[in-house]
Symmetry: C2
Subunit: 386 residues, 2 copies
């Protein structure tokens, strides 16, 4: 299979590229290195050292000769993406080239506009290129469980659900009630993609992904293969951030009551799920939505898990409650379907405790990289600042 991966240089992009190449597939990677730049802007860096892009390209070209190519460029440049799609003619596109941080989008007007423009217009350019050159290709798009939000107080369906209203029944999209400008950009994308499937007969999988954590996949076996691991407030996801705090003796920062419940997924399982979806594409014209996570947890429970696993490694981990800078409910009903991937064969690789142990072990090897950035762990980017 020929797979185009815009956003190849990111957390999931790099791990997915390694995995797909090791399966014998051909990968063409794209990136504009915005993740590296945006983490720089947060005054942070990856906790695990990663190769420069030049060295990554060298490494992959040597390890997988003839199977890997890379182009530097931006999805906002419609000619660039059109040219690559035409030349590479992919069987599948895994679109990971979005600004992926909710807090980053909430910093100020400029970061909001940057996020919505990058994500919405970039995805539109990609859709048009697919329609023009490879209308049968399978587009796999990373959305987020956060598109649904946490407000309705209903069980969360997997994309669509049947309802009755004034005596008539219909299957409609499950409502989207996102909680940040970033999450809304993903909703806009989902809507545009759903329409492209209907209009042009494209086939797309829209992944409502839970929060990803972890350092290891089967293909990450040495430092050259590390994928980035962010722990700053914008780009570090919650378990990853807790683990970075744990190894440096910084208290785990729980926002408010910590009852925020979300779906979670280890990196190795994110790669597994995306790969399962690539092997089981939807039919022409189908807009398929999957809820991609393993288990749901409350944030405070996770902090306690990290504390407990940390203790087995001799770490003295404390938990500190911080005033919640986000506008969100700190305790709420949450029950989300996630059956489609299980039916396609997904089983989790490790328990969350096993995964946390691996993370802590990996991070302890590079503790000084986190310690050098200790001051940026909690900055309190406010959701509703005036």
């Amino acid at each position: 299979m020929k797979i185009l991966i815009p956003g190849m240089d990111g957390y999931i992009g790099w791990a997915l590229t390694l995995h797909q190449l090791s399966l014998g597939n051909e990968v063409c990677g794209l990136d504009n290195f915005s993740r590296r730049k945006n983490v720089d802007e947060m005054n942070s860096h990856s906790a695990l050292p990663i190769l420069s892009i030049e060295k990554r390209i060298d490494y992959l070209e040597k390890k997988f000769p003839g199977k890997f190519s890379f182009y530097e460029g931006d999805l906002l440049d419609s000619h660039f993406i059109d040219d690559v799609v035409k030349r590479f003619s992919p069987d599948a596109v895994v679109h990971l080239a979005e600004q992926p941080s909710a807090p980053f989008s909430m910093i100020d007007q400029e970061h909001n506009i940057y996020t919505q423009q990058n994500n919405v217009i970039g995805t539109l350019n990609l859709l048009h290129s697919i329609q023009r050159h490879v209308p049968n290709t399978h587009l796999v798009k990373l959305g987020t469980m956060g598109e649904y939000g946490y407000d309705p107080g209903l069980e969360i369906a997997e994309g669509f659900f049947e309802i009755e209203f004034r005596g008539k029944k219909a299957t409609i999209p499950y409502p989207k009630l996102a909680g940040s400008w970033y999450h809304w950009s993903k909703v806009h994308d989902s809507n545009n993609i759903m329409f492209a499937c209907k209009l042009w007969g494209l086939r797309c999988t829209d992944i409502m992904q839970g929060i990803v954590y972890g350092t290891r996949t089967h293909e990450i076996t040495n430092e050259n293969e590390f994928t980035r691991y962010d722990f700053d407030e914008a780009f570090g996801t919650v378990i990853n951030r807790f683990c970075a705090q744990a190894v440096t003796g910084y208290p785990l920062t729980v926002y408010g009551l910590g009852g925020q419940t979300r779906g979670f997924l280890a990196l190795v399982d994110s790669i597994q799920c995306i790969s399962i979806l690539l092997e089981n594409p939807p039919h022409d014209g189908e807009y398929r939505v999957v809820n991609q996570f393993d288990q749901q947890y409350g944030v405070r429970d996770l902090a306690e898990k990290v504390q407990k696993v940390g203790k087995t490694l001799g770490l003295d981990v404390t938990i500190q409650t911080k005033e919640n800078p986000r506008k969100e409910m700190e305790k709420h009903f949450y029950q989300a379907d996630h059956e489609k991937l299980k039916k396609l064969g997904f089983e989790n690789t490790r328990s969350v405790e096993e995964e946390i142990k691996l993370i802590l072990e990996d991070l302890l090897e590079h503790k000084e990289r986190i310690e050098s950035k200790k001051d940026i762990m909690f900055k309190g980017i406010k959701w509703n600042k005036k």
Copy 2:
């Protein structure tokens, strides 16, 4: 009241400006003249002659001394809009500065990107400026009944509806299933505005407006006061297009079966409704959705109404079926709520037949302007062209 009207130079913008000034309110108009440029691009012009912007400004400054101001600029220029909002400090903003044509957005990739970028980013910039400088102002935003789409086969609620799912009840946004890139840009706007109300406590009215038609409002009494009247395939709405075809002996072009049912509203009533909403703002933090139309009609029925009214004026009007260039159902269930405006006092000014008669009379005075552009009446912009 001090009212800011981005998009003042357009079809509704000009008529609303005249009306609000004649009520004694203060109006600050903004425009980048994209409507004039985009109709030029369609090789068309307004059927009724309208003043240049310089003459419009002169006219209003003389007729309403000290009550009118105007700035040329673009909502994509965040500094421009921020500066105007800060200086004018409006009590209400009626945001009409969007690319308003579905067919225009469907021409090609460039027109899609232009539409979504202009509408989504322009609205975001406006929201940020309101939040920063006048968080208590009332934002009135023009959306469209087309955001709901015509697919679900349910009655259409007015913004939100209560549903039950697996034993739990919740009030959720009525699903949006738009049918063009333009309509989706309006959905993205609605979602962003709903979030801004929740996040910042803004108060906004999102108008799901039906299709507007007509030449006359109470304040349009001479040629200097004409608002633009478009009849090309992109910017001419269906009744207006039919009337222009009728006065020039061009057959009325009905797409396919003509069973497409939509809500309609005369221009004079659009102005009436917006003014009612301005006088009855929502409370702080409220995101209010109103369905703004008078009656719903099928497209073929409307063609027959224009034919019948035309006959009373001695016009020989024929109806021609054209292959539908749009991807839409040509016959479907349609029943949409529209109670909120009635409860606030809205009553229609004239019947659709009376309005059509006025339109035909006005257009007959300027028949030669339409005849000179007869060749652009039907170009068949395809919804799903490859």
